[in-house]
């Protein structure tokens, strides 16, 4: 259960948003909308604990964040590719899991890459993949890292029509398994239901 109240953020002198509040229960998702520069990414970074809020309170399972438990339950995919160009998709997935203290077996990572349409690319260096394919490598982490709360910032960027549909399905599966998601996007999302927050 995620509960956010009275969140405020400013960049320099400019107030981006104030008194933002919402709550998410199991199976719910939030679509954060707003113009360019409205503070969507800032809100996401506050939410995951990468930057401190000016004011407000973020609680995860009734405990203040960021806590170790929150980090264990969280996966955050931002604007960055967050994959190593010199490594292969398989190595990227395995190393990312190892840093989280998870031993990922080859079959699970391969299955995740196949699901994301990267069959036959798993042993190429990420450097030679296209922008959309790099994005898919990153999204494969959604399948290899067990997390309850998905925070995805512009996750639909650079994806083709099939991948957008696939990511929609992944999110829907995650929600129906009792997960939660916070998404930002400018286009309508192929995920049913959901709350909306306009900044």
């Amino acid at each position: 259960m995620l509960k956010v109240s009275g969140l405020a953020c400013s960049r320099g002198e400019r107030r981006l948003f104030a008194d933002v509040g919402f709550s998410l229960a199991a199976g719910e998702w939030l679509h954060v909308q707003g113009e360019n520069g409205a503070g969507k990414t800032s809100l996401m970074r506050l939410l995951v604990g990468l930057s401190p809020a000016d004011a407000g309170d973020i609680r995860w399972r009734d405990e203040p964040t960021p806590s170790v438990e929150f980090r264990r339950d969280l996966i955050y995919l931002g604007h960055h590719a967050a994959v190593k160009e010199d490594l292969t998709p398989l190595e990227n997935l395995r190393l990312a899991a190892a840093l989280d203290g998870i031993a990922l077996d080859e079959r699970a990572s391969l299955a995740a890459l196949v699901r994301l349409g990267l069959r036959g690319r798993e042993d190429l260096p990420v450097r030679v993949l296209s922008a959309g394919q790099k994005r898919r490598v990153l999204l494969a982490r959604l399948l290899t890292r067990p997390a309850v709360l998905w925070v995805l910032d512009e996750a639909f960027n650079a994806l083709d029509i099939a991948a957008v549909k696939l990511l929609g399905e992944l999110i829907a599966e995650h929600l129906s398994a009792g997960g939660m998601a916070v998404l930002t996007s400018h286009q309508p999302l192929p995920v049913p239901g959901g709350k909306t927050l306009v900044l």
Binding site: V48, G49, L50, S51, P52, V68, R71, R72, L74, Y76, G78, H79, H80, A81, A82, V83, K84, E85, D86, L87, E91, L95, A96, A98, L99, D100, G101, P125
Partner: protein, 221 residues
């Protein structure tokens, strides 16, 4: 602990894919220390006298050469952000990165020093002390350097700033590291110098990863 080892393995694997970056620092060390005997000429007494200082200064500069890359690549591609959000403590991952940096940029210098010391007419026991002093000193250089690298992360022209920030902090390591070899050659015994180096290393092992982590969290904001 697993996360620390995983970080070390990851950084070693990445370095293996980009050998040139590691080799630059090592070749820099070899060339700089070889230039002095060539420039000064065959004067064994003088060379022996300046050897510890030159080898140590070259080691400082070679370590400095690899420092800007310590966190920069991970910062640019967003993997540092993922590390900060990992369920493993960031301090452990940072310690792993520093250890990997030492294995790549510090340990080769330690292993090469006895060979390069021969150019300066150092005898076997002096070479032994030099190697021992570098073995204690180079991890210290990596640990202190990591704080500087984290503080200058994302700063324009960070490389020069890093040198200005870190080099003064390297002075104690330089004094006691080079001093150990000089004291041994003068027949005074290197024990005191080496103990002080070890004490500084113990202090840095404890505090540097913590300070680096704090600096990284600020850089990520």
């Amino acid at each position: 602990m697993n996360a620390l080892l995983a970080t070390v393995r990851r950084d070693l694997l990445l370095a293996l894919r980009r050998k040139s970056e590691v080799l630059t620092a090592v070749f820099f060390f070899v060339i700089v220390t070889s230039l002095f005997p060539l420039g000064i000429g065959p004067e064994p007494v003088l060379l022996k006298k300046i050897a510890p200082g030159i080898l140590w200064v070259a080691a400082l500069l070679a370590t400095l050469l690899g420092l800007p890359r310590l966190f920069a690549a991970d910062h640019v591609d967003g993997t540092l952000e993922q590390m900060a959000l990992s369920s493993s403590p960031l301090g452990l991952l940072v310690a792993g990165k520093i250890l990997a940096h030492w294995l790549l940029c510090g340990l080769p210098l330690v292993l090469l020093a006895p060979v390069l010391g021969l150019q300066f007419d150092l005898d076997a026991s002096a070479l032994g002390i030099l190697t021992l002093a570098l073995l204690l000193g180079t991890p210290l250089l990596s640990l202190i350097g990591a704080i500087g690298a984290a503080l200058t992360l994302g700063v324009r022209g960070g490389g020069v700033l890093l040198a200005l920030l870190v080099l003064p902090l390297y002075i104690p390591a330089l004094i006691f590291g080079a001093g150990a070899v000089e004291a041994h050659i003068a027949g005074l015994g290197a024990g005191g110098h080496l103990s002080l180096l070890a004490a500084m290393l113990a202090l840095a092992v404890f505090f540097a990863p913590w300070a680096t982590t704090a600096a990284l969290r600020i850089a990520l904001e």
